[in-house]
Structures are given as C-alpha cells and as structure tokens.
Subunit: 210 residues, 2 copies
Amino acid sequence: MNLKTYYIEEFADLDKYFRRNLMNCLSGYKSLNLVGTISKEGKTNLAPFSQIFHIGASPALMGMLIRPDVVPRHTLANLEETGYFTFNHVQADFYKQAHQSAARYEESEFEAVGLEAEFSEKIPAPYVQKSLLRIGLKFEERHDLAINGTVMIIGSVQEIHVMPEAVGEDGFIDLEKLESVTCSGLDSYHIGQKLGRLSYPKPDKNLSII
Amino acid sequence: MNLKTYYIEEFADLDKYFRRNLMNCLSGYKSLNLVGTISKEGKTNLAPFSQIFHIGASPALMGMLIRPDVVPRHTLANLEETGYFTFNHVQADFYKQAHQSAARYEESEFEAVGLEAEFSEKIPAPYVQKSLLRIGLKFEERHDLAINGTVMIIGSVQEIHVMPEAVGEDGFIDLEKLESVTCSGLDSYHIGQKLGRLSYPKPDKNLSII
C-alpha cells in the first residue's frame, strides 16, 4: 500500500481549513460527551467535548481537555465555581442537537437546542435527560499545558446513571446497546459495530472471543 | 427510561473486576492506537493505547496517558530516551494482533505478534507496516498527575503517513474507509458506521449534512 506523507515542514503551507480537519482526525474515533454545568446564578450550560478520557478505576477518575480559546468558556468557569460537572453520552437520536449545542448561544444551550435538563439529588450540575449514560463528577485538579494553553480538568466520579440492560454481569457497558455516538474530526458522527471482545492477552495463550 | 444509579459510596463494595470494567467503559468509544518505540540498544517495542487525544492543530500536538503501574514501562522509557514515538491506527484485519501486543513479552512485540516494523527516514521509532494511518511524533512534555500516578505525554506531530484515498479535499480523514478500529472498556473492539457529517453550528442556522 502506497501511503501519502505529510512532513512537518509542509504543515504551515497547507490550507488552514485543510490542516485543521486533518490534524483533528489523527487520533481516530473520539469519546464524545455532552458536558453539563451550571453557573452560580443558576444558568445551565451544555457543550459537546471529544477529548474525554478514563484516568483511573480506583479511585474512579476521568479527564477532559478544554481549549479556552476555541470553546465557550462557560464550562470551565462554571465547574471551577461550583465544583461539579456532568458527562452525558450522546445517543444516535439526538446527535444533531449535541452538535448544535456548540453554537454560541446567549441563552442556555439546553433550551436553545431542545434538550431537557435533569438534576440528581447529589450533584449540583445538570444532566441531559435523554442520555442513557450520565456521569456526575466532582472537580479535582486543573493542569495548564503551557505548550498551547490547553487546560486539562480531572474529576472524580460521584455517581453513574446508566440504562441497566446495557450493563453486563462483569460490569462491561455495551455501547452499541446504548447507541452511544463517537465522533471523528470536527464534525463527523458514528455509531459502533462490534468486531469482538477479546480474552486477556498472555504470551503463550491464544486469544478467544469472550 | 429508568436508569440504574451507582453512587461513589458503593464503588468500593463492587466486585473488583466488575468495577474495573464499568469504570473503563464510562468515557465511551476510545482512540485506539498502537504505539511504537525503540530502545537505545535497538530493541523495538509495540503496545496498544486507548487514551490518546488531539491537543492542537497548529502546532500539531497529540497526547497520551500512560499508567506506569499497569502497562509495560518500555514505551515510556524508550520515548524519553530516544525522544521519538509513533502512533499507528489499528485496522480491522489486525485488531487481534494489536490486542495481543499488550501481553508481557520478553522479545519485541512486533515479532511476537507477527506485525512488521517499518522505519521512515526521519523518525527513529518503528511504525506498524500494516497500518494505513501512521503518525511520527517528537516527545515534547511529560506531566505527572499526582492524583493517581498517571503520566501524560505530549508529542509534536513530525510526519503523517496515510492512505491517500481516505483523505478528502478538505483534509477530513474517512476512518471508515481506513477501517480504523475503536475500542471500549478493556477488551472490546468496534468499527464505525457513519451517521453524518454536520455543518458548522450557528445559533440561527439549521444544520445540514455535509
């Protein structure tokens, strides 16, 4: 297979829009979540994020990257003020609303795009009522990446709300049953199609589908 | 829809294996890449990573999380020693070999799982010859997350090798054409099925499929 190569020396000469798309596609499929927060004054905020990742299982920690210069800063300001935020998986039936919530609205994005907010008893941040997997998080740490101004936020998982039929006996969550959406690049959305779950890899053992 | 709730107070009482699966599934679909490195002595190393993310387009930066206690430390030691590493998308036809490369081998994982290494002229780190999207990176920054010992590595993109048919006129890379694989949890692999690409979201404009 002949591959095309782009070298760093040429990056600056690429069309700006072309380069932005290309670079945003490199990591592959991304972990799309709607992030819900609320201001001290009680105004809810919702925005899609794709740079969200598992940090640890015990304690349960998750992280997200925020570009203060390219996304609405309300998410960052709110979670630092209140100490809480939510992650909400996007299902296929509302992925367009999720995308639209990235627009720069004056009013709450929940109302603007027609997604209902829901609050739990313990977390002072709004969930997306339609989402079938919602995670309530407490703000723990902020790291500023000097290299380009990106902010990494780490939160501890406080509660998990999930469609029970999607959770297996071994704790595995079936994202296809949930119809959770993944994204690529800046604007492409996909659902998953399973190849298989594989047994634990050991040097002298053949893998089996589990 | 009635959701089941797991509260933080109960996490410690969950079966350890159940909790590990559950927590590793929370972020949704993940960015799977095989990471290639080489030691000073010339021994190649390959390992799958799923906590890989876009950090910036200009300059082009990518990050990855490494748990020094749970993954072979060779990747971290090698990239710090040589200053270089590669990301390689996993295609559907070798996802089992990718999974198997996580086993603790004495020899190079390339040989152990039967994936051929390939070197470019500029990057002293091995690529996966079968991969249709390969990225050569220079080690830029290391951040230690005190909260649980996770290490974040930031690299600058030096070169990109990609199947040309998958790159659109606007720079968008079609991951389905590449048959790139995404993973969920600790052991599940999936390909993507497109819902659509959506136009740039603005407050007073309807979205269209692009």
